[in-house]
């Protein structure tokens, strides 16, 4: 290994500091926007934690395509069903991922797709029932290679 000169070391350190600050502001801005989108979805109501299971790999080697599956443990009858499911990724440049709208014809409150993740982050799912109840859950996913190009 090559020994670092004083100049190299300084350059490296300032570079690292820049990266860290840049990243943290980006991340907190995304997290703030994520929270705003959730509030908009629930209309300010507090979502009860639980009833949703989120299936994701613990470690996603390629953020370009990460399999995601959400299941809400709730009935799907004509007068009581899960009508909407919001998916948020709180570390992406745009935290919104998708909103699923279901009708009682869907039979099961479950959907799967494949998503893009820029970095290690939380995936948050919020479900709305036809009775106006809200449920939420989240899962952390580690991303080895981000999927937002650039």
């Amino acid at each position: 290994m090559r020994q670092l000169s004083r100049r190299d070391a300084l350059a490296l350190a300032s570079g690292a500091a820049l990266t860290v600050t840049g990243w943290s502001t980006g991340a907190s801005a995304a997290a703030k926007e994520a929270a705003e989108q959730i509030t908009k979805f629930t209309g300010g109501k507090t979502a009860e934690k639980g009833k949703i299971s989120i299936e994701l790999p613990e470690i996603a080697e390629n953020g370009n395509t990460v399999p995601l599956s959400v299941t809400v443990d709730a009935p799907m009858t004509a007068d009581n069903y899960v009508s909407e499911i919001l998916i948020i990724a709180d570390g992406n440049p745009n935290p919104g991922v998708a909103t699923f709208h279901l009708s009682p014809l869907a039979g099961k409150a479950e959907a799967s797709t494949r998503i893009r993740l820029a970095t290690t982050q939380n995936i948050i799912a919020v479900a709305k029932t036809s009775k106006g109840e809200f449920f939420t859950n989240q899962k952390l996913v580690k991303v080895t290679i981000g999927g937002c190009g650039g």
């Binding site: 370009n64 395509t65 990460v66 599956s69 799907m76 990724a89 992406n92 440049p93 745009n94 919104g96 991922v97 998708a98 909103t99 699923f100 709208h101 279901l102 009708s103 009682p104 014809l105 869907a106 039979g107 099961k108 479950e110 959907a111 799967s112 797709t113 494949r114 998503i115 893009r116 993740l117 999927g147 937002c148 190009g149 650039g150």
Partner: protein, 107 residues
């Protein structure tokens, strides 16, 4: 948009059965985040909406953001009480609409 959607859906089912439907449309889903080699941002071009109807009644709709991976894949369910036709629609940012239909016999 010459790409043909791929569908996986049973041809027959029993009355009241909950069937699984898998759909995929080949599409780049350009996120609007990427830059080309000259540093210019590649404009966003995604499928922003997917919808599934059965005999004209909505079953499942997805509003999609650029965080949906290329070749958008959707898996969901439908409870079938009668024979009929599933209609699938994908809407592109540029307004292009791709549709597909699949019949099912319910006994």
């Amino acid at each position: 948009m010459a790409e043909k959607p791929r569908l996986k859906i049973p041809k027959e089912a029993k009355k009241g059965e909950v069937i699984e439907i898998k759909t995929l449309l080949p599409h780049v889903m350009e996120s609007g985040q990427r830059k080309d080699k000259d540093g210019q941002t590649i404009p966003r071009k995604i499928i922003n909406k997917f919808a599934c109807e059965f005999n004209g009644k909505p079953v499942f709709t997805a509003n999609m953001e650029p965080a949906i991976a290329a070749n958008p894949y959707m898996q969901f369910h439908a409870k079938v009480e009668e024979s009929g036709t599933f209609k699938f629609t994908w809407t592109d940012d540029d307004g292009t609409v791709t549709t597909a239909e699949e019949k099912i016999t319910v006994s």
